[in-house]
Symmetry: C2
Subunit: 210 residues, 2 copies
Amino acid sequence: MTETRTQRLPAAERRELMLDAASIVFGERGYAGTTTDAVAAAAGVSQAYIVRTFGSKEALFAETASRAVSRIKAVFRQAAASESAAEESVEERLGRAYVDLVADRGILLTVMHLLTLGHHDKFGPLAREGFLSIYRVLRDEVGLTPQEAETFLAKGMLINTMLGLRLPDIAATQPDAGELLTCVLEGAADEVVTLSTKHQPLGQAVRHSD
Amino acid sequence: MTETRTQRLPAAERRELMLDAASIVFGERGYAGTTTDAVAAAAGVSQAYIVRTFGSKEALFAETASRAVSRIKAVFRQAAASESAAEESVEERLGRAYVDLVADRGILLTVMHLLTLGHHDKFGPLAREGFLSIYRVLRDEVGLTPQEAETFLAKGMLINTMLGLRLPDIAATQPDAGELLTCVLEGAADEVVTLSTKHQPLGQAVRHSD
DNA sequence: GTCTATAAAGGGATAGAC
DNA sequence: GTCTATCCCTTTATAGAC
């Protein structure tokens, strides 16, 4: 066993590592299904240190989920804003946007889990606000119409669900899974193109840091 | 307090009541977030009795989720199959199908939660199979093309997410929530009509009991 | 900056009474 | 058919050592 453990690291850096780990674990198991111990194991630190660093499991999730929402918005903004740079079309940008998101497996799934917490006293408001803020980015900064944004969101959620379900893993043996998957992914490619050819010009999309 | 508690009931009947309660609670909180105690409280029985009746929390969820998946399929089948009866069009049937589903608040949300359990040893396979079986009903019995089924599923999931988020509750104060909501719901109505005018004839859709 | 040890609470499951 | 009481494991959070 090559134990890389127990190395002293600057707090900020270690913090990022812990959030990365949290993103993955929360993305897999959701808030209630995740133990701080599992996050600790994934981050290679002790359970107590996780709690000490973030204060509580709730605070850890709030931070992880907020970060995930921000990243999604950042990726969409980037896809829309860099219209001018290079010879890359907005279509390609938007296509890559989703790929970028999916590359970090935890981000999208953590947000999906956040979206199941509407009933929660503390996370419910966070979830609603996060969802609406993503919608606003698509509408106001990417320049989609409400209908386009809605279709985009719907398809994105279906894709995320299928990824969370691990349908790709069984596509080989289950023909229907493969069919649905290719159908949706092709559709998504179309989708991106369709949208990007219709959306209104957006000038320099303002980059709030939120 | 009008306590209706501690009434002896036939086992089968009590069982149904417990499953109804479980459907609501699991739908709100998900599998991991639900305690058998909460289900017991909702059903008006003791926690021990819930566990004794179903054997374990896992078994209770498996049964609740399976029942929910079956009901969804049943509603879709019904919408498609009763084409002949009365002067009601298939459009109206499909429209009502969703309304019927949403009426029982727990059904859809329980399935949504099931769909987040792809990683789970036991529920993962159940989730994948449930999802694919719903897809098959839409494709093989309702007669949608893969693309139509996919669009239908995507929009359905977006609606379910928004309901779970309780967006309708804040639509009054949050203009954007209202906008998205009306946009999606109108779209859904269109959707149903659009689909139903295009799908292939389906004869007598076979009614498996599963 | 990070760990070990442990307290305190929560929750699933079992036993047995009625 | 249904409840009360209770066991025991899991999990969050704290205290304090290094």
